[in-house]
C-alpha cells in the first residue's frame, strides 16, 4: 500500500515537468521543424521539402545576415571577455568583505532592469541630439552634432553592456575559488605577472570563461532589441529577419527555417564550447 502511495506521489511530481517540457519545449520545436520543411504551393496547400532552406542559401541577404550576426556575436563575446576579466579579477581577488559585496551588487543592479530601459539609456547618450554629442560640442571637440547611433559600433556597445554581467558573475565565482597561495607560490618560484596569469590564473578560470562565453554568445545571437534600437532599421540582425518573416511578411515557413538555423548555430556553439572545455551542460548552466 505504502509503496503504491509513494509511486503515486512520484508520478504526481513527474507530471508537471513532463507536461511543461513536452508541450512547451519539445513539441513546439518539432512543430517548428515540420513547418520549416513545408513549402507553400497554394492557399493552405503544402508540400514537404527543403525549399525554405534552399531559399536561405540562395538569397545572399539571408546568409550574409546570418554570418554577420554570428561574427558580430563572436566579436561581442571576445570584447566582453577582455573587458570583464579584469573587473571579475578585481572583485574576486583584490577586494574583501563589504567592498566586494558592494562592487558585486553594483554590477548586478543594471541587469535587473529591463533591457529596454538599458537600451533606451544608450539611445539618449548616443543619438545626434544626445548627451555625448552635446557634451562634445560644449567642450569644443566637435563643431556640429554627430550621430553616434545606428552603426555597428553602437550595436557592439549595447551588446557588451547587455551581456557583461553574464561574463563577470561566472568569472568572479571561479576566480574566487582560486587559492591566493597558488598565486603566491607562482611568485615565490620566480613567476612574473604575465606568466602567472597565463599558467595559473587563466587555466583555473577556464570553466568560468567557457560558461561566460557560451551565455554571452547566445544572448548576443538571440538579441533583438539592441540591434534594432541601436543599429536602426537596416541593422541586419538575424532575429530581426525572423521577426519580419513571421509578423510582417507572414511567411511562417521561411521564418521557421530561419529560426531553426539560428537554433542550430547556437546549439552547435554551445556543444563545441562544452566539448572543447570538457564541461557538461549541467555543470556550466546549473550554476547560473
Amino acid at each position: 500500500m505504502r509503496s503504491d502511495a509513494s509511486k503515486l506521489g512520484f508520478y504526481l511530481l513527474l507530471a508537471p515537468i513532463v507536461l511543461w517540457l513536452l508541450v512547451l519545449i519539445i513539441l513546439p520545436h518539432v512543430g517548428l521543424f515540420i513547418v520549416s520543411i513545408s513549402e507553400k504551393i497554394g492557399p493552405r496547400i503544402y508540400e514537404t521539402g527543403f525549399g525554405n532552406y534552399a531559399t536561405f542559401f540562395g538569397e545572399p541577404l539571408y546568409w550574409r545576415t546570418f554570418a554577420r550576426t554570428a561574427i558580430m556575436s563572436i566579436l561581442a563575446t571576445a570584447l566582453t571577455l577582455i573587458l570583464g576579466f579584469p573587473i571579475a579579477y578585481y572583485i574576486a581577488k583584490l577586494t574583501r568583505g563589504r567592498t566586494k559585496t558592494t562592487l558585486f551588487l553594483m554590477c548586478m543592479i543594471p541587469f535587473w532592469v529591463s533591457e529596454l530601459v538599458r537600451t533606451f539609456g544608450w539611445m539618449i547618450l548616443l543619438r545626434e541630439t544626445g548627451v555625448i554629442s552635446t557634451t562634445l560640442q560644449i567642450i569644443g571637440v566637435i563643431s556640429g552634432p554627430i550621430e553616434l547611433l545606428y552603426n555597428d559600433a553602437a550595436i557592439m556597445v549595447g551588446l557588451v553592456y547587455t551581456s557583461i554581467l553574464f561574463m563577470v558573475v561566472p568569472l568572479v565565482t571561479t576566480l574566487d575559488s582560486l587559492d591566493d597561495s597558488l598565486i603566491e607560490a607562482g611568485y615565490d618560484l620566480g613567476g612574473t605577472t604575465t606568466s602567472i596569469l597565463r599558467e595559473i590564473v587563466i587555466p583555473h578560470a577556464m570553466p568560468g570563461i567557457v560558461s561566460g562565453c557560451i551565455v554571452v554568445f547566445m544572448l548576443s545571437l538571440g538579441n533583438y532589441l539592441t540591434p534594432i534600437l541601436l543599429g536602426g532599421k537596416d541593422s541586419l540582425w538575424f532575429t530581426g529577419m525572423i521577426y519580419n518573416q513571421f509578423i510582417t511578411r507572414f511567411n511562417w515557413e521561411l521564418g521557421s527555417a530561419l529560426g531553426f538555423l539560428l537554433l542550430a548555430l547556437s546549439s552547435a556553439i554551445v556543444f563545441l564550447g562544452l566539448k572543447l572545455s570538457k564541461q557538461s551542460l549541467s555543470n556550466t548552466m546549473g550554476r547560473a
Binding site: 512520484f10 504526481l12 511530481l13 513527474l14 508537471p16 515537468i17 511543461w20 517540457l21 512547451l24 519545449i25 513539441l27 520545436h29 512543430g31 513547418v35 573587473i87 583584490l94 553594483m106 554590477c107 548586478m108 543592479i109 543594471p110 535587473w112 532592469v113 529591463s114 533591457e115 529596454l116 530601459v117 538599458r118 533606451f120 539609456g121 539611445m123 539618449i124 547618450l125 543619438r127 541630439t129 548627451v131 557634451t135 553592456y161 591566493d180 598565486i183 603566491e184 611568485y187 605577472t193 547566445m218 538571440g222 533583438y224 532575429t239 525572423i242 521577426y243 513571421f246 509578423i247 511562417w252 521557421s256 529560426g259 539560428l262 537554433l263 547556437s266 549541467s282 548552466m285 547560473a288
Partner: protein
C-alpha cells in the same frame, strides 16, 4: 596581482582607473534615463530645461505624466497580471521539480535534468516562434475539426504567460533545488519519528525551510517576466505588456514619459533584486 604581492604604484593606479571607468560605463545609461525623467522638455535629450515632476504627475498635454497616461497604466496592469501568473506557475512547477530531482531516483533522471536546462540555451525569439507555430497548428486543427474558435491558442496573454513560463521555470527549479539539496533529511525523519504524518512533515518542516528560496525565485520570476521582451514579442496579441508598449512608443519617438516609467522600473527592479539576494541569507 593580490594584495600581498608588491606592485608598482603606476600599475595599481591604472587598474583602479580602469575599474572606475567600467563602473561609470555601467551606471551611465541608467543615470541619464533617470535624470531626463525630470527634464522640463518634450524630448529626453539635452539641453537641460529645468526640473519638473510633470512627467510623473502632469495632466495637460503634452505633459501627461505616467500616472495619468492610460496606455502605460494599462500596460503595467497587463504586465503585473502576466508576471503574477508566470511567477505562481513557475514556482509551483519548480518546487515539484526540486522534490523530483532531489528526492527521487529514476531511469532517465540525468536526461530529464538536461532537458530541464534546455530553455536556458534556446534563444528567446526561437522559444516564442516555436510556441506560436505549435499553438496555431493546434488551433487550426481544432477549428477545422469542430468549427469553433479557439482564441486562447492565438497570440494573446495566455500564450505570453505560457511562453514566459516555459523558460522562467528553469530558473525557479535551479534555485529551489539548490536549497532543497542543503536540507538535512534527518529533520524530516525526526518529525516522522515524533508522530507527524508525511504530508504534515513536508508542510511543517520542509516547506518552511524552502520558503526563502521559494520567495526569492518568485521575486526573480516576477522580475524576469516584467522585463522579458524577446519571447513576449512573438506571442503578444492586442493587450501588450509594459516592455512591448514602451518599445512601440520608443519606435514612434521618445518622450520623457518613457524616462519616468523607466525610473520607476529601475527603482522597483533594484529593490526586488536586492530583496531576492538578501532575503534567503537573512533566513539561513
Amino acid at each position: 596581482m593580490i594584495p600581498t604581492i608588491p606592485q608598482p604604484r603606476f600599475t595599481k593606479w591604472c587598474y583602479r582607473a580602469y575599474v572606475t571607468a567600467f563602473f561609470v560605463y555601467l551606471a551611465l545609461p541608467l543615470t541619464v534615463v533617470c535624470v531626463f525623467a525630470f527634464n522640463d522638455s518634450v524630448f529626453p535629450s539635452p539641453p537641460w530645461e529645468g526640473f519638473t515632476l510633470a512627467w510623473f504627475f502632469g495632466t495637460e498635454a503634452p505633459y501627461i505624466g505616467v500616472f495619468h497616461e492610460r496606455s502605460i497604466l494599462r500596460a503595467i496592469g497587463t504586465s503585473a497580471f502576466v508576471a503574477l501568473w508566470v511567477s505562481g506557475l513557475a514556482v509551483a512547477v519548480g518546487t515539484c521539480n526540486a522534490f523530483l530531482f532531489v528526492r527521487h531516483e529514476f531511469r532517465g533522471k540525468a536526461l530529464l535534468y538536461m532537458l530541464m536546462l534546455l530553455p536556458l540555451i534556446i534563444p528567446g525569439v526561437i522559444l516564442g516562434i516555436s510556441i506560436l507555430v505549435f499553438s496555431s497548428a493546434i488551433a487550426n486543427t481544432l477549428e477545422d475539426a469542430t468549427g469553433l474558435w479557439f482564441d486562447g491558442l492565438r497570440p494573446g496573454l495566455p500564450l505570453v504567460i505560457l511562453g514566459q513560463f516555459s523558460f522562467i521555470t528553469t530558473f525557479a527549479t535551479l534555485v529551489i533545488t539548490a536549497r532543497l539539496q542543503k536540507f538535512d533529511p534527518s529533520l524530516e525523519e525526526a518529525a516522522l519519528n515524533l508522530g507527524a504524518t508525511k504530508l504534515g512533515t513536508i508542510r511543517q518542516i520542509t516547506l518552511p525551510f524552502l520558503m526563502p528560496a521559494i520567495l526569492a525565485s518568485a521575486v526573480v520570476s516576477v522580475l524576469m517576466s516584467f522585463e522579458n521582451f524577446n519571447t513576449t514579442l512573438m506571442l503578444v496579441g492586442s493587450d501588450s505588456p509594459l516592455t512591448i508598449t514602451m518599445f512601440d512608443k520608443l519606435k514612434q519617438g521618445s518622450t520623457p514619459v518613457l524616462n519616468a516609467v523607466s525610473l520607476l522600473l529601475i527603482v522597483i527592479s533594484a529593490v526586488l533584486g536586492l530583496f531576492s539576494l538578501f532575503f534567503p541569507q537573512s533566513k539561513s
